[in-house]
């Protein structure tokens, strides 16, 4: 090959420029991918930061649903889910469960009667090694249609500008339905009397490989007894945890797990829209809560109830929430484990 007639110094200079350009392009592509050049990207860190109350997050605690109590028990599967999904959890049998009753608040000290939404974190493990984690809440649909809207809603709810909330509600009219649920649905005085809904749509894959969009729920076997929030307030700020501890100590508490199967045309990508009531609902088994343990020393604190942790036979659908939640819960978990020294570990020590 004939060398181009270039003076060595020019070729040296050109080569160095070329090398610098290649390195700069590599670094630039990395920075772009990392989001360092895109301040508007909805990152997991932003989704988590926006949950913090005005005084800052409670160090060492979950960034949302911070107040909670652990339980253990079993999921008794009746086998009826096995036609919908090959997951071993739907084969008849009894599978160990770790879970957490919780309140949808970033403050671990919030008084029970100040928190409208209650939740349940659930992990079911099966002998084949499958792990199914889910985090469910008591409203029958989610307040907003997209993770971006959730971010805007949270931001507005902490904003001092009275117009902020109005403009979010105007931009996301689905919030109104949630407002109606929140103001008209009776409260109960027990975690055992509430339903817990997965709300997000997932895919169940059956033996033939057919995937169906589903949503799941836990329906309480205990009869709900309505109570006014100010009545609940009178029973003390931590009544729910005392009540569930005594109640489960007296007898195991049960929920029926139901799976609602979507039909073609049902919106699966929007948890703010409930599916029509006449959809097929399959009762797949019973959650039996057998033992309550304080969070500080219980088995649920260390678990991230990430809704994308699914066994074979269940997978994510086109619902954008599970992915956004997974990314955000991981960030929350990273932070709270890094702050573990701030968390009061011994049982009986007051939460602070």
């Amino acid at each position: 090959m004939v060398e181009p007639p270039m003076s060595p110094s020019r070729s040296f200079f050109a080569s160095c420029v070329l090398i610098a350009v290649v390195v700069a392009a590599g670094a630039g592509a990395f920075a772009y991918t990392a989001g360092w050049l895109s301040p508007n990207r909805l990152t997991p860190a932003k989704l988590v930061d926006v949950l913090a109350p005005p005084g800052g997050p409670a160090l060492g605690y979950r960034r949302n649903h911070a107040k909670g109590i652990c339980f253990t028990g079993v999921f008794d599967s009746n086998g009826k889910g096995a036609d919908l999904s090959v997951a071993q959890v739907f084969a008849p049998g009894s599978y160990p469960v770790v879970g957490r009753f919780n309140l949808a608040t970033p403050s671990p000290n919030a008084a029970d009667a100040t928190v409208r939404v209650r939740g349940l974190g659930l992990q079911i493990t099966t002998p084949d090694g499958g792990v199914w984690r889910s985090a469910m809440i008591d409203p029958p649909f989610f307040p907003v249609a997209t993770p971006q809207a959730f971010y805007e809603l949270q931001k507005a709810s902490h904003s001092k500008d009275p117009e902020a909330m109005k403009s979010v509600v105007a931009a996301h009219p689905e919030i109104a339905a949630f407002g109606k649920w929140a103001t008209t649905t009776p409260w109960t005085s027990s975690y055992a009397e509430d339903p817990y809904n997965g709300l997000n749509a997932f895919l169940f894959v059956d033996r033939a490989g057919v995937a169906r969009a589903v949503r799941w729920s836990l329906r309480p076997v205990a009869e709900p007894v309505p109570i006014a929030p100010d009545e609940l307030a009178k029973r003390g700020p931590n009544y729910l945890e005392q009540e569930i501890t005594q109640r489960v100590a007296a007898a195991p508490q049960r929920w029926t797990m139901t799976v609602t199967v979507a039909e073609s045309g049902d919106v699966t990508a929007d948890p703010s829209k409930a599916w029509p009531a006449e959809r097929r609902i399959v009762e797949v088994g019973t959650l039996v809560v057998q033992r309550i343990e304080a969070e500080a020393d219980g088995p649920c604190r260390e678990i991230n109830f990430d809704p994308t942790i699914l066994p074979k036979g269940i997978s994510v659908s086109d619902d954008p929430f599970p992915a956004a939640r997974s990314a955000a819960y991981a960030r929350s978990y990273d932070r709270r484990t890094a702050e573990a020294k701030h968390y009061p570990r011994t049982s009986g020590s007051p939460k602070q």
């Binding site: 990395f30 990392a34 991230n304 994510v316 890094a338």
Partner: protein, 184 residues
């Protein structure tokens, strides 16, 4: 070995370039997925874990091949400081391509996450749940990844410097193309 090698063996070059593509992809997937809340987060993380496990296997294989087959000597004309830089950076690259997947695996174990790869393949936990270890490993995974990327840029710059400026055969030793001069 009777004959002085002037190039890495075909297997070594194949592994080098295959792994170069995989590792650069891993760094981009990793830094991209931790900045997104979009639906692709789920498949990206699954790909990240799977490719990471593949890289660990390839890296161990590559280390074995390296110990058996050795490497061509660096050119005698190389100034001592550059020689030292080359040797140390190659040690660091080997260390990182083995450590990064192990740290990723260990950090998920310490976070009590099930480790499920593509196709439902499950890796066992290699550590018990621990807040302290999870925190340590999680930040190690982040900072070592950034150091890894910086080192790769430096390595790339050095390789191009050898190829374009020094033209001393160092690039040809690892070149993905068959030898042009026909002797090696």
């Amino acid at each position: 070995m009777s004959r002085q090698l002037t190039r890495f063996t075909g297997l070594q070059r194949l592994l080098h370039w295959l792994m170069a593509v995989c590792i650069v992809a891993m760094l981009f997937i990793g830094i991209g997925m931790v900045s997104t809340t979009a639906p692709r987060y789920v498949p990206l993380l699954e790909t990240h874990k799977t490719l990471g496990a593949v890289i660990l296997l390839l890296a161990l294989l590559r280390l074995g091949v390296r110990l058996v087959r050795g490497a061509p000597p660096l050119p005698a004309s190389l100034p001592p400081l550059m020689r030292l830089g080359a040797i140390l950076s190659h040690y660091a690259l080997y260390a990182l391509m083995i450590a990064m997947p192990l740290i990723g695996w260990a950090m998920l174990s310490a976070g009590d996450y099930p480790i499920v790869l593509y196709g439902g393949i499950r890796l066992p936990a290699i550590l018990p749940q621990s807040d302290t270890l999870h925190t340590l490993l999680r930040s190690a995974h982040h900072w070592l990844a950034l150091a890894f990327f910086a080192l790769i840029l430096l390595h790339l710059a050095a390789a191009l410097f050898h190829a374009l400026v020094r033209r001393d055969g160092v690039f040809e030793a690892m070149s993905p193309l068959p030898s042009r001069r026909g002797k090696h």
